[in-house]
Assembly symmetry: C2
Homo-oligomer: 147 residues x 2
Amino acid sequence: MENELTVVLEQLTRLVRQLATAGELSMSALMLLGRLEREGPQRLTELAVGEGVSQPGMTQLVGRLERDGWVRRTTSTGDRRGVLVEVTPAGRELVGVRRNQRAEALNHLLSTLHPEDQAAIGRALPALTRLIEARTSVTTPRSTTHV
Amino acid sequence: MENELTVVLEQLTRLVRQLATAGELSMSALMLLGRLEREGPQRLTELAVGEGVSQPGMTQLVGRLERDGWVRRTTSTGDRRGVLVEVTPAGRELVGVRRNQRAEALNHLLSTLHPEDQAAIGRALPALTRLIEARTSVTTPRSTTHV
DNA sequence: TCGTTTTCCATAACTGTATTATGCATCGTT
DNA sequence: AACGATGCATAATACAGTTATGGAAAACGA
C-alpha cells in the first residue's frame, strides 16, 4: 500500500512544485495571504511557526509581499519590537479570486471522476487529514522525517 | 468537499517544502534519481518533460547531481547532440536507502491511524491516482491550472 | 533602578530551484 | 551544400530557503 501512496505523493509533489512557480503569486505567498485573511493580523514570528519556515525566511516573504502591496507591516501593539503583519484590501481581493479559481478547478477535476471515485476520496479525506496531522505532530523542529 | 481537499493540499505543500530543504538531497533530486533508477538512463529532454520542469532547469539539476557524484552524463547514443543521464552506483545506493527510510516512515505513520482510516485511504488511492492523472493530462505545457 | 538576559526582527551570505532568452553544435531534409 | 529543426548549455534574473549574527526593546532579578 505504501508504494501506491508514494506514487500519489510524488505526483502531488510535482503538482506543488509547478504551482509554486506559476502565476503571479507563489504557493508560499498564497498560503500566507490565506492565513492572514482567515485569522487576521499576526506577529511575524507566529507566522513563521505557522507556515513552518524560519524567521528570516518569513521576514523575506513578508518583504516581498509588502513590496507588491499585498500586506502591510504595522507596529500597533504595545511591544515596540514586534511587527504585526496584516493583509491589505488588494491582498484580500486577490485571495478571494484565487480561492474561487482553485475551488472551481478542483470541482472540475473531481467532476471528471466516476461517482464511486469521488465518494472514495470523500470518505478518505478525514483519514488523510489525520495522516498529515500525525506527521506534523511527530516532527520536532528541524528534524524532518524522510517521507 | 473541495474545502477539505484544499486543506490536505495545503498541508502537503508545507510538507513538501520542508522535505525539499532537508537532508542531503532535495525532493527534486530524489525524484529524479528515483526515476533514473527505475527506468534506466534517459535523455535530458525526456527527463525535463517527465519531471515537469524546463530543459534548462533539468540541465542545472543534473549538473548539481553530477557534481556530487550521484549521476553521470554519457554520450553513448548515435546522436552526438544528445546527453544520456545515468545513475552512478553511489546514486543507486542512496536511492535504496532513502526509499527504505521513506517506506518505513510511511508505514509508521499509517500505523498510528485507526484501521478504518487506513482502509479508507487504501480504497481512495486508485481514485486519487486518477484524479492526479486527470489534472496532468488536462494541463497543457506552461498553462498550469489554479488548483 | 540598574545590569543582565531574553525576545523579536532584520540583515548578510550562501545554496538551491525555477524561469525566459539566447547561442551553438549536430542532425535530417531537400 | 544549405537550411531548418532538435538537443543541450549558458546567461541573467527572481524567488525561496537556510544558518549566523546583530541591535533594539522588553522582562527580570537583585
